[in-house]
Amino acid sequence: MILLSIVATEEAIPTAPGHWDTFISTQCGSDGWDQYEHSLFGNFKAHWQNGVDMYTKFGQHELANNSCTVCASTGDFDFSKLLEKFNTLPNSAIIFDKLRYPEYSWEHVPQPWPIPTAFVTSYSSFMKLVTLWKWIDGYKNEPAVLERDTAHEILVRTMWQRNLQYTELESFT
């Protein structure tokens, strides 16, 4: 089973494909965590809300055992290449469209790092990743703890800590 999790923004109102069950939440905003640039906090919170809705609708036995694939994006995205590659990976791995940018690039690179907006993984790994927003939110009583953090660092650190295997579709050499 493939489920689609979309974060809708004012700029990108998605048109969901009819053949997958689609869950759409509106981007939640940074809520004061501006160091997590490119909307990591707001996007992940919206994806997490979609993930809870998936559980409520389908229940654990549909989603269990890495048998359910989640395609996540902000706005419309063609997942065909990601799914093709995902099928060659262990089903607990995460595959991003673009996780990192090359050190030297002709194209504009947002600084310090862009946050991936499209990825494919199992339901369990999806929730392990996107629940990061809630861990961040837990420090709202003492935000100084995280003030020197950055989006790319917390993303990679979280995947290491959660034992999430990950790769990306586009590689740079």
Partner: protein, 338 residues
């Protein structure tokens, strides 16, 4: 002398996620309600209920009752499930409630092999996901999540309040403390009889009857547990599953294995002072031989422990009276397989 550096852990909102079979829930509910009553702390209950009973960890009971297949589960009548649901609502007024149904079990691959093991994980997941459903709907998050069974009591009666107090803003620059401000922390209790009888000193051992997860810890735990729950699409026992398996003696103590895989900082519940609450910021006491200290003791309540099959009024016993019951009746019969 400089002031102690404190963790940023503050516990004001607690979710108690109750799961599994109701069993002797009637005899436990008054004690449990009092146990979680803590001034200044909001406690919400989330309840998942199973509509069947099993007894596979009770060999002597099974033998006496003529239960030969230890995987057997006895479906409860609809009247019994209705009664149990009402008792749960009356006692705990749960924010969310759900009955774990068995009606589609025939669709689950290799369910026969999963009844003993993986269905335990299914109960955990359902109760924790009920909490998340509420969090998503209301935009609140809980500082602490507790998992607890309906038929379990935790001794002594101040254990919850004392550990919450010790966790809140605990010093992180001293000995005998939780040196972490990570809001992803688990406190649990080992199953001593498994450690003792299997010589499994270093084996990840933590039981599911009663545990604490600070912040997101139990969310992460059940996301991983969901990789091992019976599925409609993939067998839990395929060869491909072997590369992510755990060493498990009993699923009920699989908490520690999951926490280890998810790199969640984990500790045993601290010893606490007998008969006194919140004795002052020394969560990990240095001298376990101190007669004032005691381990927190969760235990299942079963009528068969007592000769007349009648559970006494445990909710109105003192800690000392309950300890006598535990030492002379509950502990020996529980460990003896009743």
């Amino acid at each position: 002398m400089t002031d102690a550096v404190q963790s940023s852990i503050v516990i004001k909102n607690v979710a108690v996620c109750m799961y599994g079979q109701y069993r002797t829930g009637d005899a436990c509910k008054e004690y449990i309600k009092k146990f979680y009553d803590m001034p200044g702390v909001n406690v919400d209950f989330f309840c998942s209920l199973k509509e069947y009973e099993t007894s596979y960890t009770r060999p002597h009971y099974n033998e006496k009752s003529g239960i030969k297949d230890f995987r057997q589960q006895q479906l409860l009548s609809s009247d019994t499930v209705k009664y149990q649901s009402k008792q749960i609502h009356d006692a705990y007024n749960p924010v969310e409630f759900k009955i774990y149904t068995t009606e589609y079990e025939e669709q689950l691959l290799d369910i026969d092999r999963s009844i003993v093991g993986c269905k335990v994980l299914a109960g955990w997941a359902d109760s924790i996901m009920l909490k998340q459903k509420h969090e998503a709907a209301t935009h609140i998050t809980y500082d602490l999540v507790v998992m607890q069974r309906y038929d379990v009591l935790v001794w002594p009666q101040h254990a919850f309040r004392t550990v919450v107090n010790e966790l809140t803003n605990c010093p992180v620059d001293t000995r005998m403390s939780f040196n972490t401000a990570d809001k992803n922390l688990i406190l649990l209790q080992p199953i001593e009889l498994i450690r003792r009888y299997n010589n499994t000193f270093m084996y990840p051992n933590g039981q599911d009857m009663f545990l604490f997860g600070v912040g997101t810890a139990l969310d992460n735990l059940v996301y991983d547990a969901m990789e091992y729950i019976p599925s409609k699409h993939i067998s839990n026992y395929s060869v491909q599953k072997l590369n992510t398996g755990y060493p498990v003696i009993d699923t009920h103590e699989m908490i520690a294995s999951l926490a280890k895989k998810m790199t969640i900082p984990t500790s045993m519940f601290p010893y606490i002072i007998r008969g006194r609450e919140d004795i002052g910021r020394k969560a990990l006491h240095s001298n376990p031989h101190d007669f004032r200290l005691t381990a927190i003791a969760p235990f299942p309540v079963r009528a068969e422990y007592w000769e007349d099959n009648v559970i006494p009024d445990l909710a109105n016993m003192t800690d000392d009276e309950l300890e006598v019951q535990y030492d002379t009746i509950i502990g020996p019969n529980w460990h003896g397989g009743k």
